[in-house]
Assembly symmetry: C2
């Protein structure tokens, strides 16, 4: 059953003979890997949609991918979302969360970004031999609590142990299945000029919380991660029939990468205003100290929604009434006269600049 390896590697080996940390950073190199290696080889419409998860119908005949015009039909078979993420964050515990709660929130949020109600999660542990049993126990308890809070069940799992020195404490993979109970098509391809961009709160806290622990930095106040499950908030928007064209959570690569992915996927021009993007003062100060731009710092409980203009104010109100959207803000819009695939930002002093996708790796192992 050995495969014949006849195709040459689509990533030029002369440029990248080895996998770099940046290939997992959520920026340009990650996207190159996905676009050149995974998408062409795995070759299916669900993956090509390059959403936070795959969307498909199951039952009632042959499968129907998101790209099919039949998606609205076959009412008998439910429309599902399916997503996965591995969590390799270091350190395992941090202010505001730990790898266990994050492994639940991250996948719950990916399903929510597809407009799905998260239902079931799997949990796959890759443990390094020698992990204190009590550490594992704390992490598993945290996962269980996070799952309960997010109204999902962890229904299947797997445990592997690798020899000492071949892992790092514990890595956790979760995959999730959710159900889409509305007929909106939430995907980059649905974005259109006029759409209003709303973020559900201040950005950058997760990344700064991790960096502070890792580097032993002390600020006046402890900055806690924003890690949280946003599905409930998203479902409130959908229940209120807010017309949402796309959503994306602001994880690896931060807001800059999320917006670039959507600009690229929708071939629209996005414009945001720096003064409207909420960043807490302590996070701003920490960013200046560390030389980071908050636009590139990962969050784990923040997302941007692309909302039809007539529903923007209503969406903002709904968000602000929710504990996870109290500081929600309109940060920009999709421009009819923008450059397709480009994100522009008007700075505080009124200058326009291009917000590019991150090219290197700002913060390895942030999630």
């Amino acid at each position: 059953m050995n495969t014949n390896f006849t195709l040459s590697c689509p990533i030029p080996i002369s440029d990248y003979p080895y996998v770099l940390l940046a290939h997992g950073g959520g920026g340009k190199l990650t996207n190159q890997l996905i676009a050149k290696m995974f998408v062409p080889l795995f070759n299916n419409p669900e993956l090509e949609a390059q959403h936070d998860g795959a969307v498909f119908r199951v039952g009632g005949g042959d499968r129907v991918g998101l790209s099919s015009s039949e998606m609205g039909d076959r009412k008998g078979s439910p429309l599902l979302a399916f997503s996965t993420d591995s969590y390799v964050i270091h350190p395992l515990f941090f202010p505001g969360g730990d790898i266990g709660s994050m492994a639940v929130h991250g996948t719950v949020n990916d399903l929510a970004m597809c407009g799905a109600r998260p239902l079931y999660l799997s949990a796959g542990y890759i443990i390094e031999e020698g992990l204190p049993m009590d550490t594992l126990w704390r992490i598993v308890q945290s996962m269980a609590q996070a799952a309960k809070n997010a109204h999902v069940s962890i229904v299947t799992g797997d445990t592997k142990v690798v020899d000492r020195g071949k892992g790092d404490g514990v890595f956790i993979n979760t995959a999730g299945v959710g159900i889409i109970e509305h007929d909106q098509r939430i995907a980059p391809q649905s974005v259109r000029p006029g759409d209003v961009l709303i973020v559900n709160g201040d950005i950058g806290r997760h990344g700064i919380a991790i960096m502070a622990v890792r580097e032993g930095l002390e600020f006046e106040t402890i900055i806690e991660s924003d890690s949280a499950p946003v599905a409930d908030l998203v479902l409130q928007l959908l229940d209120a029939r807010v017309e949402i064209h796309c959503m994306r959570d602001l994880t690896r690569g931060g807001m800059a990468s999320a917006l670039n992915e959507i600009a690229e996927g929708s071939q629209t021009g996005i414009a945001i205003e720096e003064r409207r993007v909420p960043v807490r003062d302590d996070v701003n100060a920490a960013c200046e100290l560390l030389g980071f731009d908050p636009l590139y710092v990962a969050c784990e409980g923040r997302f941007v929604a692309f909302v039809a203009p007539q529903d923007a104010d209503r969406a903002l109100e709904i968000m602000r009434r929710h504990p996870l959207g109290a500081d929600a803000a309109i940060i920009g819009s999709v421009k009819a006269d923008g450059y397709p695939g480009v994100v522009m930002m008007k700075s505080r002093i009124g200058a326009n600049r291009i917000v590019d996708m991150i090219s290197g790796e700002q913060l390895p192992r942030i999630c």
Copy 2:
């Protein structure tokens, strides 16, 4: 959002202060971890079923777990299977396969063991910085080929990179979703006295193939792994309306662990005959050399089916007509007068002995 950790660890810290390789070995310690830590905390009927995957309905009302008496109802909503496994095998390439093909076969087989037709897979990569790009490319190609052969689509994924020395080349997690298109209840709880045990071929080749590469052993012939997707074979049995009560693939811990899990889950007594268990001569010779018992050596394309007695001969015929079941054999049965939860084996010389679950770790990182 920090959880309060109030419960004390259910694994006695005095016995196991640290996670051992054996906790991932598929034997007693793995089962203790699952039974004492994961099942009580995650607390849901799907996980409690302790099957190779979770089985649930989605859509058409509230969720219905496998344990519910309503499982046969709600015809409108499809019955799904959901499973996950992480693959940490060392070395990455071996005779008969590689980590990529295995990551597809393993999860496809877990879904098949639930009686499901595998449809969609996720793929989560945890790559160690410095992995040659071409190695990743070969693995991804192999996954794509294996998915095509097994008629599944890899529809969503994730790539993480960890710093050099904090991983080992690449670990791959796959999760899978399949659909159950029949009304048999395939689960340990369905096993009953009289059931006939059929294995789809000779056992132990995968483990021996890995050991041979790892230890640099040379036999007269190269022993290739049995790694293969068995879903097609299982679906043929189901299409022919063979009454199957339970199935399990013979992975970590080998046939001995699989049978013990089912004996325990069904509280029945299982009896097998050594002379009926197919083991190739070269595998037997290698086992003797290495001090292994073939009953405990992992396979990746072998399973045992518990079949109603009136269908056993027909099931065997169907298996033998399939390329992955040419050497299928009836190896034993479930005894009305057996000890509940115990697996007995009649040896070649006619003595009866208990086949226990593996207690330590025979072959780490075999899958």
